[in-house]
């Protein structure tokens, strides 16, 4: 309790009525009001108020449409299946790579995290190229080889969408569980062995229950991401009329051509999507409610590895095949299709050309989209990094009245689907509040900041918790003013966390499509939007070529980030 009060006292001791602390506090509240509260309130207002009067009419109207009901059902079905299978796959491979003597662990581990960086909608494009019900390369080959009259596999189904989403979302569980398994105190398992439990019993009764918090945290991430996901169902589902709520919202907006009626319908659908997400979160909390255990030690220790014996090589092959299917195949497909002269030509060297790649850098729209994405990702990264750190400082160190509100507001946008956030931003910043940012990069930037603020806020919070108050106090007693102690001590200490917060925002913002696809204007296409529209216009090879450029960009930047953060380990 004493700690709680300390910093409040620092502000009071300052002796001035308006100290740095109160300026930062007010700033944090105002920023969150503008960035988060206004867009969300605008959605609620437009969904429930018509001509100034409260009404359930719009929501009821949406609920009585069969299209809405089927989109809702698809959203729930896909979200549930992806979470279930993604969790199983993630836990299985986490255990295999974290606790068994399977060969090639280190390399496989980094390969298993690739899907995490890879934009899912590019993966969906690749699988569409391979397994499209009518024209997929693999389907055609199978039909020719085995003289089949119809395509044996069809990716343009709910199960196809589920399959592609699993391959991009299981790393959420995989990474959480692998790190929990590695940091778990091995004596916990060893004690069970000594007490007479068999290997299988130990896994079932000790290891798994202890990593349940990690599993449920990862599963929660999958669930939120999948329910809100736009890219994969948009690419695989549109042609077959399979809609989820996010894609339905997009369809409503694009069909209405920007009319206010369309946006209001989208607002009502957004409310339904938020309700679905909220219910899913509640349900998940009920099902997986578990107290936190303090079993995880900060130090890395050498856990006991389990000898797979005869199953070692077969399991290795299974893991290898999984990697090939989810990582290599889509990657190669995108690169190869980017090379073909015209879509539909067989993937043979005589049909290959570099013209598609050359055209990327000569088409002004495409070059602009790369520039736009870079500008947006860098500005969103920098701004969110600064704002996130400011809010984290207020929450962790100043702790004013209403800290809880501040904390909730800053992480709220993360659990709100990107589509919904985009609708809120349209409603708030396209003139109804006398500010019109529509068709400018600013409106996308505002949405990005709202969406990614929580990333930097979380990393900065964690870093600030490590900075003991006495470090700042020591600076004060050494003659530093409050501002100086922030500049000399606190900021340098959390700088590495701020930098990693920047890249946590920069990378997803580079490949973002969900929000920008609703917000772009004629001159403000992002990289993701450009790929999406090229494909929509039937220019498959160009879309694939631009996709491969995006992938290369992301991999290169990620490698640079890893090199930088590896250097900073000592700090």
């Amino acid at each position: 309790m004493i700690n709680l009060r300390r910093n409040k006292d620092l502000a009071a001791v300052e002796g001035r009525r308006i100290g740095l602390d109160s300026i930062m506090t007010v700033l944090a509240f105002v920023l969150l009001l503008v960035i988060v509260v206004i867009p969300i309130s605008m959605i609620i207002y437009n969904a429930f108020f018509f001509e100034g009067k409260f009404t359930f009419g719009l929501i009821v109207d949406q609920l009585t449409r069969s299209t809405t009901m089927s989109s809702m059902w698809n959203t729930v079905k896909i979200g549930g299946l992806v979470t279930l299978f993604g969790t199983i796959v993630g836990v299985f491979y986490a255990w295999l790579l974290g606790r068994s003597n399977i060969p090639g662990k280190k390399l496989m581990r980094s390969l298993f995290t690739i899907p995490y960086m890879f934009p899912p909608f590019l993966g969906a494009m690749a699988w569409d190229l391979l397994l499209n019900g009518r024209s997929g390369y693999l389907n055609r080959w199978l039909m020719q080889t085995f003289n089949l009259s119809s395509a044996p596999l069809n990716i343009n189904t709910v199960w196809g969408i589920v399959f592609v989403e699993i391959s991009y979302y299981f790393p959420f569980v995989f990474m959480q569980v692998v790190s929990a398994l590695e940091r778990m105190d091995p004596t916990l398992e060893e004690s069970a062995r000594i007490a007479g439990a068999k290997q299988g019993t130990v896994i079932r009764t000790i290891t798994l229950p202890l990593v349940v918090p990690a599993i449920s945290a990862g599963a929660l991430l999958i669930l939120i991401s999948s329910l809100a996901h736009f890219g994969v169902p948009a690419i695989l589902g549109f042609s077959q009329g399979i809609f989820t709520l996010p894609t339905r919202i997009f369809a409503v907006i694009s069909r209405s051509g920007g009319s206010f009626e369309g946006i209001r319908q989208a607002a009502a659908l957004s409310i339904l999507l938020v309700i679905v997400v909220a219910l899913a979160l509640l349900l998940q909390r009920k099902v997986l409610s578990s107290g936190g255990y303090d079993i995880i030690k900060g130090k890395s220790m050498r856990p006991t590895l389990i000898n797979l014996r005869g199953a070692r090589i077969p399991l290795f092959i299974v893991a290898l095949v999984t990697l090939v299917v989810i990582v290599i195949v889509p990657l190669v497909m995108i690169f190869l299709v980017g090379l073909v002269r015209a879509y539909g030509l067989p993937l043979r060297p005589e049909n290959f050309t570099l013209a598609n790649y050359a055209r990327i850098f000569t088409t002004s729209g495409t070059v602009d989209s790369i520039k736009n994405s870079l500008v947006l990702a860098i500005s969103a990264g920098v701004i969110s990094m600064v704002l996130g750190t400011l809010i984290a400082y207020v929450v962790q160190k100043i702790k004013p009245k209403g800290t809880g509100v501040l904390e909730i507001l800053s992480v709220l946008p993360y659990s709100i689907p990107g589509t919904v956030l985009a609708i809120g931003v349209i409603l708030a910043w396209s003139g109804s509040l006398r500010v019109n940012l529509y068709n400018t990069l600013w409106i996308i930037l505002v949405a990005y900041i709202a969406r990614y603020l929580s990333f930097s806020m979380k990393t900065s919070s964690a870093a600030l918790l490590q900075v003991h108050p006495s470090l700042e106090e020591a600076a004060r007693t050494c003659g530093a003013t409050h501002t100086e102690s922030l500049k000399d001590i606190t900021l340098p200490l959390i700088r590495p966390a701020m930098i990693s917060g920047f890249f946590l925002i920069f990378l997803p913002a580079m490949r973002e499509v969900t929000t920008s696809v609703l917000l772009y204007g004629p001159y403000t296409r992002t990289l993701g939007v450009q790929i999406y529209s090229l494909r929509d216009a039937g220019m498959m090879p160009q879309a694939a070529a631009l996709g491969s450029v995006a992938i290369v960009l992301i991999i290169v930047i990620n490698a640079i980030v890893n090199a930088i953060t590896a250097d900073r380990k000592g700090v």
Partner: protein, 361 residues
């Protein structure tokens, strides 16, 4: 006039009144140890002195300069108080080298670079850390980091340094060494040191003056180490300052008898006047104030004897209770070691008398 004065300081955190009308003075060029159990408000007092916590009421002076006064609405900000502080967790900045850490207070005073360099070297020599001048704190041991913290405090102020449990995180051997070094530094520079601890041993080791606080945050006694050990003002201090044995004394007719449970033995000593009329007393002695004397009528049985090098530590059964007795190795050589299981006579030197606690009455 006293160098540092706390006058009627009151501090509360919400409903929790930590300090109430607390007053304390420190003389110049001495080491004052403020000793009290954990959570008694010592650290709060220090934070008030440093300007990190604002008292609700009271006044604080250093060398006649008013740092805080609730009445006169004076509250000098922490950075302008010029007091050196050594925190329990060192609070050495991990991203700055030893030199940068130590130079920081002078850089904030906008001193010339050559002056800073010279002083940094001087001070690091004081704390024998010259060879680590360009190290980062992560490369130093706990004791070395603590020296850096002391050096930095010396740079903030030659006159007054506050140390808040500075050696608690060090191992036992290093603790003794650090105490001696702090003592030496103080002798060399004449710095006034306000040393806060819950460890009465360290306080006795180091302090010119000791101020003892109880768990309610009240000052119960100020005095030299001798005063505190030989003339504790209350049972709390007597118990707090070291291992104690208590034996009940019951008033029977005109004299007192030792109540040993199974039997009562007449108490041979006379009881001081101020407690003479109390029916139930408790006699307290320290283990090293009990000697073996075969002529004594108080008989007891040696249960266990432990040799600790400089002394023997005995667990002795006296009636229905167990008491501790210490015998220096020199005494043991002169009088002989009491064997486990043998009967001994006990004589109590320097006994203290307190009214018995109510639950035992």
């Amino acid at each position: 006039m006293a160098y540092v004065r706390f006058e009627n300081i009151s501090v509360s955190y919400g409903d929790n009144q930590v300090l109430k009308n607390f007053s304390l003075s420190l003389e110049k060029n001495e080491i004052m140890c403020l000793v009290g159990p954990s959570g008694c408000g010592k650290t709060t007092l220090v934070r008030c002195l440093l300007g990190l916590t604002r008292p609700d009421e009271g006044e604080i002076y250093v060398d006649d300069r008013c740092l805080f006064s609730s009445k006169r609405r004076i509250n000098v900000p922490a950075e302008r108080r010029g007091i050196g502080i050594v925190f329990q967790d060192y609070a050495v900045w991990p991203h700055l080298t030893v030199k940068e850490n130590v130079a920081y207070p002078m850089r904030k005073k906008r001193m010339k670079k050559e002056d800073i360099d010279r002083r940094v070297r001087d001070v690091l020599k004081q704390v024998s850390m010259s060879e680590y001048i360009n190290h980062l704190p992560g490369q130093l041991s706990g004791g070395q980091q603590q020296r850096v913290a002391i050096a930095r405090a010396l740079m903030s102020s030659d006159d007054l340094i506050v140390m808040d449990e500075p050696i608690t995180n060090l191992d036992a051997k290093l603790r003794d060494q650090m105490l001696n070094e702090i003592r030496d530094i103080q002798r060399n520079l004449g710095t006034t040191i306000f040393y806060i601890t819950h460890d009465q041993k360290a306080a006795l080791h180091l302090g010119d003056q000791l101020a003892i606080m109880n768990e309610k945050g009240e000052l119960v006694q100020i005095g030299s180490d001798e005063d505190i050990i030989l003339r504790p003002k209350s049972r709390f201090i007597f118990e707090f300052i070291g291992v104690t044995n208590f034996i009940p004394l019951k008033r029977v007719d005109s004299g007192y008898k030792l109540d040993l449970g199974r039997e009562m033995i007449p108490w041979p000593e006379s009881v001081p006047e101020d407690v003479e009329q109390i029916k139930l007393l408790e006699m307290g002695t320290r283990p090293n104030d009990i000697t073996f004397d075969d002529a004594s009528p108080i008989r007891a049985k040696v249960k266990r004897a432990v040799f600790l090098g400089s002394e023997y530590d005995y667990f002795i059964e006296l009636g229905d209770r167990e008491i501790r007795v210490q015998q220096s190795t020199l005494d043991a050589a002169l009088v002989g070691v009491a064997k486990e299981g043998t009967e001994v006579g006990l004589r109590f030197l320097n006994p203290h008398y307190y009214e018995a606690k109510r639950r035992e009455a």
